[in-house]
Symmetry: D3
Subunit: 250 residues, 6 copies
């Protein structure tokens, strides 16, 4: 039995509250167990220098934790004057994941800025950020559609992410809370789209290893979790692809 009584293939409770902050084009608060992340999506009418003139857009992400999102206070990165390697890794991961499901040509020379700010952390903040950011981004793109900046919703698929790991006591488990994560040797983050395709697999066995069978178990758990997360997204966003057909039939 896991610390919070879950089965090994059971997600924590998931809520996605849309329109959480009033200013951004898209905003959600995603809550997964005790992990809470504010995900905001902003649309800027220009692209970074390396893309200028290429008639396509860009998606970039920033990730941060409030100092007391964690049990011990963490020093603020703005006070240190630099962003840690961990933060950079997560930011790059979120950006790549979101870009895989957006038609960048269709958004034109615009940048979608994703800001994921963890206000309370209990494990799985990077995968919660991806899932929440996907919803915030879709909300922002709907706003862009209303403003006639894009003429259809330029989304190719749903997208969600979760973590899996091999715990020395509970074995392969889905959606690790912090207490599990800190005692797990093998840890894997999986990002998938709505067609059961992998966007990203990041598995690491610090001071541990995993074999082919264990890998298969982990991938199976992740697929189940991502199916459920996409159901939560659908409850918030509706069915994107029927809507989109309607949109494009005009």
């Amino acid at each position: 039995m896991r610390p919070d009584g879950r089965a090994s293939d059971e997600l924590r409770s998931v809520q996605i509250q849309p329109d959480f902050i009033i200013h951004p084009e898209g905003s959600v608060l995603i809550t997964i167990g005790r992990t809470k992340v504010i995900c905001n999506a902003s649309i800027e009418d220009r692209v970074p220098p390396f893309l200028r003139g290429q008639k396509k857009g860009w998606i970039t992400a920033e990730y941060s934790m409030l100092p007391r999102a964690t049990p011990e206070r963490t020093i603020r990165e703005s006070s240190k004057g630099k962003v840690t390697g961990r933060t950079m890794e997560i930011q790059r991961l979120i950006g790549r994941a979101l870009r895989s499901v957006v038609d960048l040509q269709a958004i034109g020379e615009r940048t979608i800025w994703i800001d994921c700010d963890v206000i309370q952390a209990d494990g799985g903040t990077r995968t919660a950020s991806i899932t929440g950011a996907f919803v915030a981004m879709v909300l922002a793109l709907r706003r862009a559609q209303e403003r006639k900046q894009v003429n259809h919703l330029p989304i190719k698929s749903y997208l969600a992410a979760t973590s899996v790991g091999i715990h020395p006591v509970y074995g392969p488990v889905l959606d690790l809370c912090y207490k599990e994560d800190s005692t797990t040797d093998v840890d894997m983050n999986i990002v998938m789209n709505g067609h059961d395709e992998y966007i990203e697999i990041q598995g690491t066995g610090e001071e541990a290893t995993f074999n082919e069978n264990e890998l298969a178990d982990l991938l199976g758990l992740a697929k189940k979790g991502i199916h459920e997360l996409i159901e939560v997204e659908k409850a918030v966003l509706g069915d994107l692809f029927n809507e989109q057909k309607v949109g494009s039939s005009k």
Copy 2:
């Protein structure tokens, strides 16, 4: 009539939600109109180098805004690699204000870290931060009392802050929202304690000035607003000073 229909001496709606984040020793979400600030107080068992060995504590504050707390996305200070002058000014102000109502000897060689993170901004974020941080700090000190780190609540008075200004149309007004603030020439932040004493007056007339009569009007409005804010604090915290007498009679 002000843009949101308030009278010139009327505060916006104020809520202080205690225990907002689970990890900090003290945590509140303060909402003033559409301004929302998470105020967390952490207790660390050491003091900065300049105070070591002096048998007294310290209170220090950090302030930050999420990039989309504002109508336009603001660049994250951690990405810029430095903290702006505005942020530093606000941090120093919050720290000074809180230190004025705490018995630093009584908390021993400990630091209270105050983190004010603005998740949604609509004017008055620095004064909302002070008011919210006061409540978070009292909650943290009660936790310290429960843990026998201090033997009474080392608070000398209530504390609250508000902004006042002279608007070219509405005249002297209390508690400016962003729309008012951005069109106001003279702007003043006032911090007072529960004994009607000033802790801090910061009045500035960029490209404008104010005379002695106008100053008197502004100080009067501020006093009224601070009385009302302290009533909200009492509703959350109870009556601190009867409690404290009881505590110290043991």
Copy 3:
């Protein structure tokens, strides 16, 4: 009796030496007691990006202390690689104060850079900087007039600043030297123009407070000191506003 024998409402000796450094458009050495600040004003033919195309100018200030302006050597900010919060606060204050008395439209798309470098400190460096910088700026604007960059002296009023405080022994006093400042609980910096109007009031009672009567005493002392400082300015600059009428009558 105060440490240097002054009455409570008495300024230290004030000298303003014009044309102190040969290169700047305007330059003074201001000496107030043992505090010495070199104030240089430079005119640059462009404005910061946020003002481009708006047909108005800007005034910005930088403030620094030589490492041995102080009794103990202070680490150089260029060596630390960053500017402290205190420095930023002072820089912002000087800039705001000067902008309040200049017709920014009249100077066109130009920036006036103010550099205040404290070569010897004995309290009151930020207020001495404002007073000295005002004179350096007027000298620079006269140079601009000679060069036909502006067609009248775009100054709306005299400007000066001083500090006042409540000392535990001497009570309310004007123009604190370092020894007084370091033992004073309540400290206030006041910037006023030549029409007895406030530009800035910054009063703070770190670990102390002040009531309404004390505030009135402090404001009275400041007004007296600022009147005297403006007399010193007039001795250096002549009567700006008769001159200006003459100038504009051509």
Copy 4:
């Protein structure tokens, strides 16, 4: 046929030249095709603060590219004053990979610093760095054994890394050169030990995806490549584990 005529499951030519630089405890130049990385291992007699007093060691890695390791000159990170996110990601990956095959208790309170400096890049620099760094680290630990700092070679397994990808023309391929890498949608770096166990899987499909069958193909190619790389390591290092048994039988 791939651009350099290789079969899809064929590694480029691999050389590992030991004792390349004279000063480090362990040093190799690893050449994979046209990619050349100097890998140096240094042993320092202390550990980072978070490990002090725990009687175990640490392994940390730094990675850098000479500005003209690449076809276009890249700005030096020391000139920019900060390390990019890509560099941090690679450094963290190299460190984690090496720590997975070392008995950190056995090396005592020492840090092994790994420096991977790419002097010529043609794809696969991060995986070449891991493979080269493993050899340099073993050479350094043998030096430590000679100096009686450790009493056996504290290595648990061989370790190697390679890249695989799905190319739009050639399909799944092993060991991508830069020309292939830049036109490949799905890219995966695999780190394995000498027991066919995974240490790290990092697969990403920027603007692309991969399904379960494709994943299986990629993992198969990687395993073949890693077997061959470990043979090259054995040619340089000899058979580590017979040696080690002899050592531990003393």
Copy 5:
């Protein structure tokens, strides 16, 4: 004839005003023509980490220019957040030069901090800094003698520095002002002690060269200038070495 009418082997007018700033242990204002540098020497009772426990002292220098020391305003290094290469070179040169004439054992585990702040520049600021800093340092060491921190004046020789150059019109010249310096191809800074020995020769011919005969001319001019500078030092400091004998005969 040179621009200011000097002969080719003629120094500009030199003044050294002792005790210029009240706080430092040693302070001078050195004026050479229109170049003015405040040189302060501070004594700190500890040495940098690399010297701890070695029972010897250290001398380190910092150099800076006020933004309007120059005809065009220079950006402040504290605002840029870093010190330029030119500044670092000068700081290292000043420190090396001063260390060559001090008995570092005799000053014990103390650091002499030299701060050279150029308030007005007209060529030759680095050599004026060395000459001025020597005098400030001797004044500080006399203060240390009075305080019984050292039991004799630990100075081995006088020290001075000057610049020489080959001007396309005037030929080899001594003590270049800015106007000459900016049109001179070959430029050399020479530091010598009171025994006609070289401490430092830094000669550079950017986009130009110099041959052996020209080198001999330049060295001859420098020697003459340094003799005269040492006479100015003696006028301020008195005869150090008779004094020192008296001191050591006690």
Copy 6:
């Protein structure tokens, strides 16, 4: 007898391996004794802002050491986030030296970037960098000639650099290895062109001095060494000036 058995006027063994790295326009590995420096020259089709529109080019250099180029590991400058004063000094020296032998008008609005990366250090890295960089730069300019970017080889002379010093035991010596350098009081770097003209003399006697006769000895040794280094350059590059005459006779 010197530690490695050389005569006092004897260079270490010198090799210059052209085309060491494949990507740069010019690349060499220079080996002087055990000192090894990779020198790469890159041509960029633009100049720094201060030269734009002036129809001339620029040459700029960067210098770095791998962390284990030295017996003890040196912290990487990219990790420290800043470049040391020593590195800046060397970079400026290399740039100035190379600019003295190039016709900057003839290269047009282009920048030649020189990267000197020391992979193994044993004294004399800055002078080896200059000598190696000269050869890499000539190779790059020949590439520019082939590409018709320049119509003749815009080189005015050969260029080489060496170090000399006064060793307490061996007396004046040429080409110091690290062991000699670290025990030598007076140390001088000399850069000369192929016409026996000085480009740069940097002589310093930290905690020591040198007189006129010693200076003459040092300059004589340097001239001999530089003659020999230029012979090595000619063996790699051929006779530049016969070639150039041919080129310009077209």
